[in-house]
Symmetry: C2
DNA sequence: TAGATTGTTAATCGATTAACAATC
DNA sequence: TAGATTGTTAATCGATTAACAATC
């Protein structure tokens, strides 16, 4: 009941046609608009589901439907990645999947460390969706002596005091912050100082990071608040007049 | 180590000046652009932090900085809510906080049920950030007989077979799906049929919902994939010529 | 009054959509 | 060839920013 993931397919290896993948990941590659990047992950998920079902070919129309976007948006997004379809025919599922994965940088070795072994940290550490998409969880930290040393999934909880040492030893290049807001900035500073440039934070605070550090935030209460706004709007007309 | 929340202040009561709050939540109130709604939650968080620190007044400039946006964007966003500042002076923290909360619909009674008592479901059920922002977790469900009846926070895990009954009895008006992708659509359909119109899903699948149902999605692996894209771009120039 | 800061306007920018020429 | 579907263009739409008049 705890795994959120149904797509059995992991991040595929590089495409057999070397040229295209090289182009997608090359430094000179034009950048993809943020909104398109977010949707490319949806297409990738849908493609990998199709792959698992044995589907070999798909049209922009049906891939768009499976991803919840318009076919126009889908084709526009794919045009940022390259030109991997066949007019009159559609896209080869595996081929397109590999090229999107390459464009997103998923052919790298991503090693993720989680800071905070509370409920959320543990949930993330055990979450199958990371491993299955090519993200290796290599360490988990906590500050609580009662928690340090405990088993979480395949890992043992490290002391956050050893953060720098363990990050280096494990080669972690991404960090997920699943800790109280009060200590998030402090830990974030140390993570950045230790040379990690990609941080995903679940702490409900504005973190300051230096230029060149990629920070993304997920705030679960915020999501409920946004839902509340729409729900209230939907209900209002019934309640009055 | 498990709480993510540092803002001690809950959703405030309605403003003492009745007119404004009424206007904000009124059916005729013009709708707020989606991007602005998302940011309003940030402002609210920042304001409540200021409130806890005893700060009484704030300028658009410093509230914007605390929220990580430009003051131009902030003032534009606030203009959708109303006109609650004083030129030459700034905003009264508590007053503005209450009006934003009202505009977001946070003065409603939001009762949240969580489906899935795996790691993530348990983490969410115990997550202090919900309660502190006015969301009451009233039920948690699972399908596993080994898990049903277990204590999670203040609650006991209910059998998902009793979903409809328990949703009605508890008066839940929001549901969080923290369950495997394979069963998400089925449970979602039942939730919607039971009359719940606001759903937050952590399952990595495209859910189909009828018109009028508010669905939001959080996919944690997606967030890492987006980070990967930016990290790869940042690294690429170093790696080649 | 003079200084400060809001609320709003107009200009810029980016994202989405519709339509269709290219081409399998 | 005829039918189908991509990749791209141009038009629309929405979001962000800069600037400033209103006003405390």
């Amino acid at each position: 009941m705890s795994s959120l993931d149904s797509t059995p397919h992991a991040v595929p290896d590089l495409p057999d046609s070397a040229s295209a993948a090289g182009a997608a990941a090359a430094p000179g590659a034009k950048q993809i608009p943020p909104a398109a990047v977010a949707r490319l992950t949806l297409y990738l998920r849908a493609l990998n589901t199709l792959l698992a079902e044995g589907v070999e070919r798909v049209s922009s129309e049906s891939l768009a439907e499976a991803s919840g976007v318009s076919s126009s948006t889908l084709r526009k997004d794919l045009s940022h990645v390259g030109s991997y379809g066949t007019r009159g025919v559609g896209y080869e599922v595996q081929y397109l999947s590999r090229h999107i994965a390459a464009a997103l940088g998923l052919t790298h070795d991503w090693k993720v460390a989680i800071v905070g072994a509370g409920n959320l940290g543990k949930a993330l550490a055990r979450y199958g969706g990371f491993e299955s998409r090519g993200f290796d969880v290599v360490a988990i930290f906590d500050a609580d002596q009662m928690v340090i040393g405990n088993e979480v999934g395949w890992l043992r909880v490290s002391d956050v005091a050893d953060l720098e040492t363990v990050l280096h030893r494990t080669g972690a290049n991404m960090v997920v912050l699943a800790l109280p807001a009060a200590v998030a900035q402090d830990v974030c500073d140390r993570v950045v100082a230790a040379g990690v440039h990609s941080v995903l934070s679940f702490a409900p605070v504005m973190l300051q990071v230096p230029e060149g550090v990629n920070l993304r935030k997920v705030d679960m209460a915020t999501e409920l608040q946004i839902l509340a706004y729409h729900a209230q709007r939907a209900q209002a007309p019934e309640q009055t007049a």
